[in-house]
Symmetry: C2
Subunit: 147 residues, 2 copies
DNA sequence: CTTCAATTGTTGAATATTCAATATTTTCCC
DNA sequence: GGGAAAATATTGAATATTCAACAATTGAAG
């Protein structure tokens, strides 16, 4: 396994497939945990990014949380309805909208962080500390080289 | 980088995020290439799995190509319309439907395979042979340990 | 300074996905 | 064997995502 794929290699030897497969598994695990709070994974990402307290424009945020712009807009609409985040027009550039977390959003984010950290600890237990660290290093590097 | 995340660690230190990010990048690259043939990545996966010529049930196929059952059913509907695949009721177990590739599907699959292999070669060029092999090994192992 | 292009975010229509419910067939077990 | 439970695939309604078009603001060129 893990050889360079030829035209007739099984799909399981393709990097793109292995990434999709691993991502699906891990994402599902997390999804299951976060369901306790009734929140999709993307909303955890949004809350976490906004947790630095600085305002983030929709564009920045979309990049950071791996969502397309219109998808993010609509997800933010729901989160505003739930009073987790709020919009402020950027005074420096009135095309932009700056997003902030509410107190309610912060409290939720803390609970979600705890669930997420616990998941990763669980992964490390069965998968190993060394492997996890190395995998993360390689993924960062791949992301960097793909840009 | 690549340390065990604490509750207040940035999201970029979470394995789940790194996987989602890397997957998104690589999947987009492939998507762009396959667009030449006007086919989504999932259809390439389906054609490739069916390329062994054996009939695969919808359940098997859904697992293999990382799609939920109803999503697969509807995607297969489209592919049947495009005469890429066809359904045959399993004579051994009439609950099951066995999927097969048509000649047209096979021809398309060959062209898609070529595009996909070329993408992976391109990745290996900029990312390195060693890293790619090691990353694939680790992903396989993670998938195995997650199950 | 004025006009045209680029940037930013949102919207509406088209498309795709998901959840729950259904139909069909098989398996289990008494 | 007969009836309940499990397995398989599909459907329809509800939901979410995407694509293209739009509106608003800023930047840039003449």
């Amino acid at each position: 396994m893990a050889k360079p794929p030829k035209e007739n290699s099984p799909i399981t030897e393709h990097l793109t497939y292995l990434l999709a497969h691993a991502n699906r598994e891990i994402n599902r695990q997390l999804e299951t945990r976060l369901a306790k709070e009734g929140v999709p994974v993307e909303q955890w990402r949004i809350l976490k990014v906004l947790s630095d307290g600085n305002g983030h424009s929709m564009g920045e945020l979309a990049d950071a949380v791996l969502l397309n712009h219109p998808t993010l807009t609509k997800m933010i609409d729901r989160m505003v309805s739930d009073a987790l985040v709020y919009r402020v027009q950027d005074p420096k550039d009135r095309r932009k909208v700056l997003m902030f977390v509410s107190d309610r959003g912060k409290a939720l984010c803390r609970r979600l962080n705890s669930l997420a950290v616990s998941q990763e600890e669980h992964i490390v237990e069965s998968y190993g500390d060394k492997s996890t660290t190395e995998l993360k290093r390689l993924l960062e590097s791949l992301i960097g080289s793909a840009n």
